[in-house]
């Protein structure tokens, strides 16, 4: 068995997580703000009211700053697939490459063309053409997110591919199956909607600041109305798509679901934890109570995960030890293998691949056929062959559990927040208490926290896999010197932090300037 340098794997993961999280600081705002701007500009074109134009331009500037840094960090992220995860890129280039290339074309041709019109074309093109450009930027930004999320969805649920033993690569046999994978579609909808909610909160928060300062009042009021309506509609949809994602996780990544809920022992009619704390140091095979305390809804987890209140939800222990019955994707009832058995079968698959290649070189047709069949029989567990310890299939349970519960709690808080704002607008004639305005500003960091914890659930919860059941993280990493990755980690950390500080300063400055213009 090949030896894996754990420090290299950990540093590579840290570096990727760092880049991805910084990238995700900038992206969600652009996804949602683009539509809010498009709504506002449509109101301008329809009413001819110059104030709408000014409002549109103000938010557009903030959009532009975010967009630029989002692109810069995104490019670094894409490079890291090649520099730090070259084994992964080789293994999946065929599948991952296509959506990524489409994204590149979408982002660069569609968005950058129309973004230029959006920023610089105000007095150069007709009002209608400008409006169409703004809408196309919004649609384009979201569509380019579709492709990267399709790629991510495929890693969580590798559909539409087959493994070609001759090239030792995964190849796509059905593009539509990759694109219309239920995991990918749910992920896309949940992710973009999270951007809409975040942008709505951002717009309300900045507008609340203006109201506190007593400046730019009309801009603030109009922006609050558009954002609160957009926020309420999309936050309800966010909860719906979150439910859809949780259902997909239950079907395709049961270990992630168990970690999200801190469920160690599986049960029929499993409850959903609303609020709870996990016992520190809990192992899957000890007798400690997993929770210090919990408030739960009986049978809800079974219902959400399997659409039946009495369904069995496997816990961490069941998934490691196997032995429970489940229905596979073809509708056949099966007894689950233990992690140890899966590891054994994975090792058979890896060896069969090596023997197949050797037999092909030696022109031994019998051995070729035999090993190919053996590989096919065991390919389902291929990735397990890189693991040695059954425990290594367990992700970081506390991190996944707390992240999931923070995200969901904030999701419901946001729905309540938008309702409150709309109530104050319509039933209290915009008489918003100072404390509520301050609270609205505080909501901005909370939206970013919800958004980041979402990705932590999705990505930490699926460890140890880069591609579910097929390629573990340890085998995906580039074999480079771990000290080189350490150096670039700190280098990127410094650059990204500087970028973030610069962005915040420019944003604050623009917000202040905006307020001055609006004082007249």
């Amino acid at each position: 068995m090949e030896h894996f340098d754990l420090s290299l794997v950990n540093w590579s993961r840290a570096q990727f997580a760092l880049t991805a999280m910084y990238h995700w600081v900038f992206v969600p705002l652009t996804l949602g703000l683009a539509f809010i701007i498009a709504f506002m500009e449509t109101l301008y074109v329809k009413t001819g009211d110059e104030e709408w134009k000014r409002i549109t331009k103000f938010w557009m500037t903030l959009f532009g700053i975010n967009f630029a840094i989002g692109v810069a960090t995104g490019i670094i992220l894409e490079f890291e697939f090649g520099t730090n995860w070259s084994n992964y890129s080789w293994f999946v280039g065929d599948i991952f490459g296509a959506p990524l290339a489409i994204e590149g074309i979408m982002a660069f041709f569609m968005e950058s063309t129309f973004i230029a019109v959006m920023f610089f074309g105000w007095n150069k093109v007709s009002k209608k053409f400008h409006l169409v450009s703004t809408w196309l930027v919004a649609v384009g930004a979201n569509l380019s997110a579709l492709w990267i999320l399709v790629a991510n969805g495929w890693m969580q649920y590798p559909a539409g591919m087959y493994f070609n033993p001759d090239t030792a690569r995964n190849e796509m046999h059905n593009f539509w199956e990759v694109l219309f994978s239920p995991v990918a579609i749910n992920k896309f909808l949940h992710t973009i909607t999270s951007g809409y909610v975040l942008a709505a909160i951002f717009v309300i928060g900045v507008s609340a600041w203006y109201m506190l300062k007593g400046r730019n009042i009309l801009l603030a009021k109009r922006s609050i109305i558009v954002a609160a309506v957009f926020g309420l509609v999309t936050s309800i949809f966010l909860a719906l798509t979150g439910d859809g994602s949780a259902y997909q996780v239950a079907q395709k990544q049961p270990m992630k679901l168990a970690a999200m809920e801190g469920l160690y022992e599986g049960q029929e009619g499993a409850p959903l934890i609303v609020v709870g704390a996990l016992t520190p140091g809990k192992q899957f095979d000890d007798d400690m109570d997993p929770y210090i305390f919990r408030i739960q809804i009986p049978k809800m987890l079974s219902f959400l995960g399997y659409r039946s209140g009495d369904a069995f939800v496997p816990g961490v222990k069941d998934l490691v030890e196997g032995g429970y019955t489940y229905v596979d994707k073809n509708g056949v009832e099966k007894v689950a293998l233990s992690a140890e058995q899966k590891i054994e079968r994975g090792k058979i698959a890896i060896k069969a691949l090596a023997d197949y290649t050797a037999a092909k070189d030696a022109n031994d047709t019998v051995a070729v056929a035999y090993n190919r069949a053996l590989l096919n029989d065991n390919f389902e567990y291929f990735g397990y062959g890189y693991l040695n310890n059954p425990k290594s299939i367990i992700p970081n349970v506390p991190l996944t559990f707390y992240s999931f519960h923070i995200m969901v709690a904030l999701g419901f808080l946001f729905i309540g927040f938008f309702m409150l704002i709309l109530y104050l607008v319509y039933f209290r004639q915009f008489k918003i208490n100072k404390w509520i305005l301050r609270l609205s500003i505080l909501m901005i960091p909370l939206a970013y926290i919800a958004s980041q914890t979402g990705w932590i659930v999705a990505e930490v919860g699926r460890q140890p896999w880069v591609i579910q059941d097929i390629l573990p993280t340890v085998a995906a990493v580039s074999r480079i010197d771990s000290s080189a990755v350490q150096i670039t980690f700190f280098l990127f950390f410094t650059i990204f932090t500087a970028l973030l500080i610069a962005e915040l300063r420019i944003m604050f400055k623009q917000i202040k300037i905006g307020s001055k213009e609006g004082d007249k």
Partner: protein
Amino acid sequence: MKYISEILWLLSWPVLMYISYRLSVWAIKHWEKKQPEENA
């Protein structure tokens, strides 16, 4: 068709955008009617 439910689910996105847009326009108009003096 094989992917019908996924396609329909995906189409909920433009529908969601359309509904949000119509509702925000309606909300603005409704508010302006209630507060004519502020928007003069």
